[in-house]
């Protein structure tokens, strides 16, 4: 698998403020990559550097093997881009916006009609001037223009802002479909559940630096699981059972329900509870949001 996006040592300052400070990451072709961080962490500056909209102070960016500094046009020919917080041309209709943007790309916007249908942009919607569009409709149009020409790499900065849950679900489906077809998606989002659902790997950026990169399931799976053990009757002595690798064990007053955190190998835990009068063992994997905040706290 080749690299769809490679960033090495990216540095970008605005006056005395260093927005991005040595960011390096690599996204493979066919991957859905999540880019996480709070406001002001450097996500958008990193993306705008990739797109050639801001000039890095240092570092190297390659899109599908093309150095952005030397062949930006060649690199962008393979990219679909959805920026954060945008407005379109108010005097144009939605259809005209798509036609205009479609005409600027070397590939024909072959998927425009299908994507409009998927995101419920009707003919009458598309014939209205975009100044009359709601935030969600503009966002849908933004998604369509990013995917309409079948780019190999889609870079989306907060792509689901303003979308209702149904449309968010459709966007996640579109991302998965794009990846199944061999395409790559670089997804920056505040919506952690969406990133968790859609991405294969994530990078967490904090104060302009990457503080964690890895498979999404590792970021969550390596961390704690929330477990609840329910017994039929209290154990002799009334105390909690021996639960290997369990932390923060809390028993309810009846002595039959124990809540605890667990990390690492589950095998020892399962063997330990096998001989107990177990009614139920609930194991909830930690959510990405919890892992995200954990990473942030540990790096602070």
């Amino acid at each position: 698998m080749g690299e769809a996006l490679r960033i090495e040592g990216l540095v970008k300052s605005y006056g005395p403020i260093t927005a991005v400070d040595g960011v390096s990451l690599s996204v493979g072709e066919g991957e859905v990559f999540g880019f996480l961080g709070p406001n002001g962490a450097g996500k958008t500056t990193t993306i705008r550097s990739v797109m050639g909209l801001v000039g890095p102070d240092a570092g190297r960016i390659e899109i599908l093997g093309r150095d952005v500094a030397h062949d930006l046009a060649g690199a962008l020919a393979e990219v679909g881009y959805l920026p954060d917080e945008f407005a379109l041309w108010p005097s144009l209709t939605g259809r005209e916006c798509l036609d205009y943007l479609g005409s600027l790309h070397p590939r024909p916007p072959a998927r425009a009609a299908e994507l409009c249908e998927r995101f419920e942009l009707t003919g009458s919607d598309l014939d209205r001037q975009v100044r009359r569009y709601s935030r969600g409709m503009k966002q849908k149009l933004g998604i369509v223009q990013a995917f309409q020409h079948g780019p190999r790499l889609v870079i989306a900065d907060e792509p689901t802002g303003g979308l209702d849950p149904l449309m968010r679900e459709r966007f996640v489906g579109l991302v998965a479909e794009h990846a199944r077809g061999g395409g790559t998606v670089f997804l920056s989002s505040h919506v952690l559940s969406e990133v968790e659902e859609a991405t294969d790997r994530v990078a967490v950026i904090r104060a302009g630096r990457i503080v964690r990169t890895g498979p999404t399931r590792h970021l969550t799976g390596e961390r704690l699981r929330h477990c609840t053990l329910v017994l039929r009757e209290p154990l002799p002595g009334g105390g909690p059972p021996d639960l290997p690798s369990a932390e923060d064990v809390v028993a309810d007053p009846s002595g039959t329900t124990f809540r605890f955190e667990h990390s690492g190998d589950m095998g020892a835990l399962l063997r330990a509870v096998a001989d107990l009068p177990v009614i139920e063992l609930l194991v909830e994997p930690e959510r990405l949001s919890e892992a995200f905040f954990e990473v942030y706290r540990s790096e602070a």
Partner: protein, 266 residues
């Protein structure tokens, strides 16, 4: 130059340009129609020796007793200046500053367009916008030539030459606006700067024509290089057109240089 950006820029400004075309045609015709009323002895007494401040205000001449003066007045009237500047600004101001403020430039430059071809397309579209307004003015003058008393005395070549020089002036000013827009991220700030520059130059030319000791100041104003009364009288300086063309070219080159190096951030 990116031809699609060029075409869509004109398409977006289409209605504005249509209005400016009609307004310029009507304005030029009405000035000539109204000025033709200044005939007869009473007008000679009133306008035979107009005050210098009035002449300076109209760019150096205020001969309302002859068709040549009427036309010169139409071409240098502040409202004509506003119409022609407005035509160029309709495209040039929106080229970068408004696009960055809105965020729509991200969509265009996130495609394989390139900054230089993008800005050259915007510059060409701004020049065409000026040409559309000039064409409107020309139509107004040609209609007046057919319908207003004594206007037929002005030769067609003279009229075309006047509008050609007018085009060079306002196209140059549009390129200056493009330069301002290329470095700004807020439309309102770009408007203020661009209008300020044009008004400053107009005022400099006015002061230079009004006060003898400041006559050198006129060379610093592009308005000095567009004197329709001189063109109509066949006395226009051979350096006027090259100076205006050079100003426009230099402003466009500076705009491309500035735009190519800036960060597109709001």
């Amino acid at each position: 130059m990116n031809r699609r950006v060029f075409a869509w820029s004109l398409r977006q400004a289409g209605r504005t340009l249509l209005v400016l075309f009609v307004a310029a045609a009507l304005f030029h015709f009405l000035v000539l129609l109204a000025a033709s009323a200044f005939l007869g002895e009473a007008s000679v007494r009133l306008f035979g020796n107009p005050p210098r401040v009035f002449e300076a205000f109209l760019g150096g001449t205020a001969n309302l007793l002859e068709p040549e003066g009427w036309m010169a007045t139409a071409l240098t009237h502040p409202l004509a200046v506003a119409l022609m500047v407005g035509a160029g600004n309709a495209v040039a101001l929106g080229a970068v500053a408004a696009e960055v403020e809105r965020g729509s430039i991200d969509f265009v430059l996130g495609r394989p367009v390139g900054r230089r071809p993008y800005l050259l397309a915007k510059g060409a579209a701004a020049a065409v916008a000026v040409a559309v307004a000039e064409l409107g003015g020309l139509v107004g003058v040609l209609v007046a030539r057919l319908t207003v008393e004594r206007m037929g005395e002005i030769g067609l070549g003279t009229i075309l030459g006047s509008f050609a020089l007018s085009f060079l002036l306002y196209a140059a000013l549009a390129m200056v606006t493009l330069l301002v827009s290329a470095g700004e991220s807020l439309r309102s700030r770009a408007v203020a700067l661009a209008v300020g520059v044009v008004v400053g130059w107009y005022f400099a030319n006015f002061v230079a024509l009004l006060i003898d000791g400041t006559s050198w100041l006129r060379f610093a104003s592009p308005f000095h290089y567009f004197r329709p009364s001189e063109v109509i009288a066949g006395r226009w300086a051979a350096t006027d057109a090259p100076v205006l063309a050079a100003l426009g070219g230099a402003a466009l080159a500076a705009a491309v240089w500035r735009f190519s190096r800036r960060d597109l951030t709001r």
